[in-house]
Symmetry: C2
Amino acid sequence: MLLGGIEAGGTKFVCAVGDDSGRIINKISLPTVDPEETIKAVREFFNTYSIEALGVGSFGPIDLDVDSETYGTILNTPKTKWKHYDLLGNLKRAFQVPVYLDTDVNAAALGEYKYGVASDVKSCLYITVGTGIGAGFVQDGKTYIGKNHPEMGHIFVQQREDDTFAGSCPYHGACLEGLASGTAIEKRYGQKGVSLSDKEEVWELEAYYLAQAIVNYTMILSPEMIILGGGVMKQENLYPLIREKVLELVNGYVEIGSRSEFIVAPGLADEQGVKGALALTFGE
Amino acid sequence: MLLGGIEAGGTKFVCAVGDDSGRIINKISLPTVDPEETIKAVREFFNTYSIEALGVGSFGPIDLDVDSETYGTILNTPKTKWKHYDLLGNLKRAFQVPVYLDTDVNAAALGEYKYGVASDVKSCLYITVGTGIGAGFVQDGKTYIGKNHPEMGHIFVQQREDDTFAGSCPYHGACLEGLASGTAIEKRYGQKGVSLSDKEEVWELEAYYLAQAIVNYTMILSPEMIILGGGVMKQENLYPLIREKVLELVNGYVEIGSRSEFIVAPGLADEQGVKGALALTFGE
Ligand SMILES: Nc1ncnc2c1ncn2[C@@H]1O[C@H](COP(=O)(O)OP(=O)(O)O)[C@@H](O)[C@H]1O
Ligand SMILES: Nc1ncnc2c1ncn2[C@@H]1O[C@H](COP(=O)(O)OP(=O)(O)O)[C@@H](O)[C@H]1O
Ligand SMILES: [Zn+2]
Ligand SMILES: [Zn+2]
């Protein structure tokens, strides 16, 4: 049985044909242009195979409320050509197979849960720290959605006293994403994160915010493992800084187990999203 | 079929005998003293009936990790006599019926979901703002636990610039509970909340913190309804203040529906906890 998976990102669509063991048979990466053109290319890729179901982990915000009239539609995105685009409806029409839609971060969490670093635990939270900040959660093999799925990045945390940055979030200024995303780093320091590698104080501050976010997620969702991915986490020195800070902040209130097993790097390099998308087709 | 429910609080144990429609046949409130004496009184109350299962919503922190060796045990509580007390084990031995254990806040959420203000929605978050701050979550009739259930009160939020209070939380200082619980109010102003009713600025600040917490919970769990209960919420002027502030903070990032239907007061007066405890016995 062949299955399809799409990691539908704002920059590229990664499409894969695989089977129900998670094995990938063929994979392609397509640039995200306008919806019609992108979906046409997706269609051409999959049409060589007869897939029986399609799983999609999409950029967002996307309407995941099954009771909503706009279920499966891209919402308020700055990518104007995609705003209000009925992704689910168009994919269903294109392929005439069941389509399982979720967020990109939920798909990444599911990929790591099924095949990656979280394959031995019962729940994991996948946080991506990239252009924006988003998180997806899996428990007992099921991704968590709720009424809708606001992707968790826009939460409020304590701004450090000496940090006077107004924040880069167009909605909230100094929310977590506004304080700690790659975009925030670039705005705060006037240069990209990669060129700040040797500036310790940059990563101290970054760890300060990400640690608070992790504590908040942990107090609310209580995952067994936290996976930190995305471009900013290429600064590997962040892992130990964050682990230390989380321990300090939790201050014994809850048991979080071994720090280095609780907060980890992804196990699937760049394939957690598309493998998770494939795995979205299994569940039900 | 008779069922038992216990709302096991730090001050009192409310015990009820009821049926599977949620009807309460008899109810009693017992002071929380030491474990042996309390459980003895609980036993005497229920022994007049032949209950077939017992649901318990307990104060905490309590170990709810079924894989843990101390599952069902009270953890790090300041009530030293209860620390490490095996609540689940002792109740099982006392009654020889299935015992369903959850947090007090989850039981309250379930009570409102089954019989109260949330009976028409698919998910609700019950937040209690009292001596401490805690929250419980129900989706599709199931309470949410996670690896353990840290009760959500100890999250980090943005402290208001003009608020120099160090916070009352013994673990975290200025976490949400340390900034906005009844205890925090009393420490900050040197008097109890009830005697500050006419001080607008007190409730403005309170709403500022509770609104941030609600936004964080919403960004992460995305509940369909938020119920605010507990002693501090007796200040009814808080509801409109909080609703307004939440809308301002979300700033259009996600659709939260009608404010007055999204953030509401409990519907079951003081019975959500014990009715929810009864309902814990239904599920499985
Ligand atoms: N080595 C690095 N160190 C710090 N930041 C980096 C590094 N590499 C990429 N980034 C930042 O990560 C962000 C891109 O994240 P990425 O996860 O690759 O993409 P996206 O979030 O758009 O999917 C950019 O803000 C970029 O500056
Ligand atoms: N009318 C009121 N206005 C403001 N605060 C109140 C009011 N009534 C009670 N409180 C505060 O609520 C807290 C008690 O909360 P409650 O929910 O009754 O108990 P608990 O949290 O211990 O179960 C105390 O800090 C008390 O000062
Ligand atoms: Zn934001
Ligand atoms: Zn705290």
